[in-house]
């Protein structure tokens, strides 16, 4: 006799087979999808999440699918939990990569997975279905790309930002910033000291490093060092007392060639080297020769990349310890040149580098090309930052708030909106509100009959309605009523849930970033295909947390040799 799963003691190891396993995955993923679904669209509902720190028992109010999914760490039903965590992992990964579109992905997933399960239950070929889904997904991705249009100027960027953050002040500020800095622009979003949003534009390029000695400060109010018409030594060698005569020679070289200052960018300097630089800073006849020792990042690969970029900007060469070089071999032509160099405690900036502009342009082009080929998110973001730096100019957005928690939430929102704006400038936009997917539906149905994988296409075609339906449902509209109207309209139209009218998508600012929709589609379909081909769930023994802690303590004592 088959044992009822509810009779199995809690925490015991167990294996679950089809059809229970598929049903459990559906149950769990549906719960998670239902949690994030209300956040889809311009009129999102909130999810109140119990604060894990139990601070005053105040729940966290969230309207962002990615963060909500991240907060769901377990659901009671062990079988269903597998499905929930499978979807959660996909959504969290997408949130980290793209910053938006997780609710859309969840809704699409649920539609595809449910239909796929029904197909499997009716005896359909699941592996064939998976292949069909994969082909259909490629068709959708390509159709979305064909629909994409480049985003226009500041007004369009503001409208796009508003669809993400629903905050007028933030939308206008970020729209202006991205209009100025462009898709590769260097933007730092930091916590501000005032309650409002403040933005600042910084000329030239800057790095997170700074002066090595506060005695070099020239502007004591701002605690900044400014030097002009500078020769720049770039090296990954930490300078010691032995380098003093060599450094003195470089100071003389800079003076001889009519430069007004020498900047040394290095991982570190000894006190004597600082003393030499300070002394020479006062020795020039007119008393205006400036010196600055600034540090370069110590971690790799940032140190190498930062030095390489500085060398290209200034037309200098990196004096490389790893190649066995020393300051003794440095010639005048090895030094970079810049109109102005500034350094604060935490930043080093270059303005008007005198490097070869053609070389700089080639370097930027090659970095831009490499961005799409880098899979690692850290390296990809680093490369985008490098391009922004090299193109000159940066912006700083200081985010304020009434309380610390509000400040954190606004900063996170600004980060997310900035990421989406960058994507929109990079990849273009399509009509929003689920319209772009509806246009893909037509294409899928046309191809469904001609392709051998008809079911996969039809399941995807039905799923393409899901985002539109969810958006309207969240805003209190009956989607079925408007679906035909929208289908009859052209690609420029969208349904505005704020007014209840079909409007021009572009002029009303109802636009989605094409790469976000593509990512949502990819996440939903690949995860659903994975879940559909999962037949068995294996549960390990769940360890009692108290016993686990006791066990850990014993292991720790044993390692220390305590009896």
């Amino acid at each position: 006799m088959k044992k009822n799963t509810s009779e199995i003691p809690k925490g015991s190891p167990r294996v679950v087979f089809q059809p229970q396993s598929g049903e459990a995955l559906r149950r769990g993923s549906s719960i998670l999808a239902a949690v994030v679904k209300p956040t889809l669209g311009p009129m999102p509902r909130l999810a109140a999440v119990q604060d894990i720190m139990m601070r005053n028992g105040v729940p966290e109010l969230l309207d962002d699918g990615g963060n909500i999914a991240r907060r769901v760490i377990e659901i009671g039903d062990r079988d269903a939990d597998v499905g929930a965590m499978l979807l959660r992992d996909a959504l969290c990964t997408m949130h980290d990569d793209v910053g938006d579109g997780t609710a859309c992905a969840a809704v699409l997933f649920e539609a595809v997975f449910s239909a796929g399960l029904r197909y499997a239950a009716a005896g359909g070929d699941v592996m064939g279905l998976r292949s069909g889904l994969d082909k259909g997904m490629r068709l959708i991705l390509s159709a979305l790309e064909d629909m994409a249009k480049p985003i226009g100027g500041e007004d369009d960027l503001v409208k796009m930002a508003r669809t993400i953050c629903h905050d007028d002040e933030m939308s206008e500020t970020l729209g202006e910033i991205f209009d100025v800095i462009g898709q590769y622009g260097h933007l730092d979003i930091v916590k501000g000291k005032r309650k409002i949003l403040e933005r600042e534009y910084v000329e030239g390029s800057y790095w997170e490093s700074g002066w090595l000695s506060s005695r070099m400060i020239t502007d004591s109010d701002k605690r900044v060092t400014n030097v002009y018409n500078a020769a720049v030594l770039l090296t990954n060698i930490s300078l010691t007392d032995q380098d003093i005569p060599r450094l003195a020679r470089l100071v003389e070289l800079a003076m001889k060639h009519g430069r007004d200052s020498l900047v040394v960018v290095t991982p570190g300097v000894s006190d004597s080297v600082v003393g030499l630089l300070l002394l020479n800073g006062k020795e020039k006849e007119d008393g205006k020769f400036g010196t600055l020792a600034a540090k370069v990042a110590e971690i790799q690969p940032r140190q190498t990349l930062d030095l390489e970029d500085m060398a290209i900007l200034t037309g200098g060469r990196v004096v490389n310890r790893d190649a066995g070089e020393s300051l003794a071999q440095v010639k005048w032509g090895d030094l970079g040149k810049a109109r102005r160099v500034w350094a604060s405690r935490h930043h080093l900036g270059l303005v008007g580098g005198e490097g070869d502009k053609h070389k700089l342009r080639d370097h930027i082009v090659s970095l831009r090309k490499s961005i799409s080929q880098i899979d690692d998110k850290y390296l990809r973001d680093l490369t985008i930052t490098r391009v922004g730096r090299l193109m000159g100019g940066a912006a700083i957005l200081r985010v304020g708030g009434d309380t610390d928690s509000e400040l954190e939430v606004r900063k996170d929102l600004a980060d997310r909106t900035a990421r989406v704006l960058r994507e929109s400038a990079h990849h273009g936009v399509v009509p929003g509100g689920g319209i772009a997917f509806l246009h893909c539906q037509r294409l899928l149905l046309e191809k469904a009959s001609s392709e051998g994988q008809g079911f996969g296409f039809r399941i995807l075609a039905d799923a393409m309605e899901a985002p539109f339906r969810a958006i309207l449902s969240n805003a209190g509209f009956d989607a079925s009523h408007y679906l035909m109207q929208v289908r009859r309209s052209d690609l420029k139209s969208a349904f505005d849930v704020r007014t209840g009218n079909i409007v021009n998508a572009e002029s009303s600012g109802i636009m989605d970033v094409v790469s976000v929709l593509q990512s949502a589609c990819r996440t939903a379909v690949t995860t659903a295909a994975l879940a559909l081909t999962t037949d068995v769930l294996v549960h390990r023994r769940q360890v009692d947390p108290v016993r686990q802690a006791h066990h850990d303590r014993q292991m720790h004592r044993a390692r220390r040799g305590v009896q």
Binding site: V180, G204, D260, R339, G352, K357, G392
Partner: protein, 330 residues
């Protein structure tokens, strides 16, 4: 040497800019700037007077750029660019106020003025060292706006005649041409072939809002034309224009007569079909500055300044195209 109040004027060290008043036909005012100062003529170039020179005896004041307010007739505002700053006059060049730029002081190589300057007070200064400086208070203060400007050595700068609507400005640098579509706050490089740079001269059509027409004169690849606001560029295939194109000037009646002028190191050329066919206009070498105005008979009048220091008119002869620049004959 500069001979004041003479009809045949020479500016020692060469002429860098020659500008006609927007209301030239009624006020007959024109300016020429060069290595030894700024000169003004109130009688259509018959006599010239020193409008600005160095404050210290023996010093030379080199004026590289010149721009007149579009409402010059009423406000008398003009700007002169030089090493270290921008000079502004409110009274047609009689008196001047200096705006000294912060150290290290750059050399102002070109000045662009908003076509609605009396309303928006926007002014751009292109520099050899610090890229583009923007003033939104009529030249009292300048701020550096160089986002996306990969090369800060600016050779020339032009402002769209429809700036109030399209916010468009173009600059050429040693390594490319850049466009700003947001009033000079950020720049994107346009698609000029790499082999064509540097562009020594730029000219923007008076009907830019409708025709999107722009010409770029390069150092060694001749003349380039864009008909889509700088998105794409095509080379004008004419061997005579293969050398350095020092300057380009649209006829003031361009919208009706489609004529424009370019100056090479050899002579001035003229086109009356928007740059398709070119004719020799005047055999004057090394013309560095051009400005065009309709004469009373409706023919274009070309004010030219040369690298050797001459300033004068290259007039159109109905029988034969020839140069009649008296000053340049010396």
């Amino acid at each position: 040497m500069v001979d004041e109040d003479t009809a045949h004027m020479r500016i020692d060290g060469g002429v860098f800019a020659a500008v006609l008043s927007p209301d030239f036909r009624s006020d007959n005012t024109c300016f020429a700037a060069g290595a030894s100062g700024l000169f003004c003529s109130r009688d259509a170039g018959d006599t010239w007077k020193l409008a600005l020179d160095a404050t210290e005896p023996g010093e030379e004041l080199s004026v590289l750029a010149l721009a007149l307010s579009p409402d010059y007739e009423h406000d008398g505002v003009l700007f002169a660019g030089m090493h270290g700053g921008v000079l502004r006059s409110w009274d047609g060049g009689e008196s001047w106020a200096a705006k000294v730029l912060p150290p290290p002081m750059p050399t102002v190589s070109s000045i662009g003025i908003s076509p609605v300057f009396p309303k928006d007070s926007i002014l751009f200064a292109g520099t050899f060292e610090d890229g583009v400086l923007r003033s939104s208070d009529g030249g009292l203060n300048f701020t550096s706006w160089n986002f996306g400007l990969l090369d800060s050595r600016i050779l020339t700068l032009v402002v769209s005649p429809d700036f109030e609507v399209d916010d468009t400005v173009f600059v050429s640098s040693e390594s490319g041409i850049f466009r700003s579509k947001n009033g000079g706050r950020s720049w994107r490089e346009v698609d000029l072939p790499v082999s064509a740079v540097p562009a020594l001269s730029l000219a923007i059509s008076p009907g830019f809002a409708d025709d999107g027409l722009l010409f770029g004169g390069t150092e060694s690849s001749g003349l380039y034309k864009s008909s889509d606001a700088g998105e794409s560029w095509t080379s004008i295939m004419d061997e005579r224009l293969s050398g350095p194109i020092n300057c380009i000037a649209f006829s003031s009646g361009f919208l009706s007569d489609s004529s424009l002028f370019v100056a090479t190191t050899q002579q001035i050329y003229f086109s009356e079909d928007c740059g398709v066919k070119w004719y020799e206009w005047a055999q004057i070498p090394d013309v560095m500055a051009l400005s065009v105005s309709p004469s009373s008979e409706g023919h274009p009048q070309v004010l030219a300044g040369t690298a050797t220091g001459g300033v004068g008119w290259a007039l159109h002869d109905a029988v034969k195209l020839r140069a009649t620049i008296a000053a340049l004959s010396t």
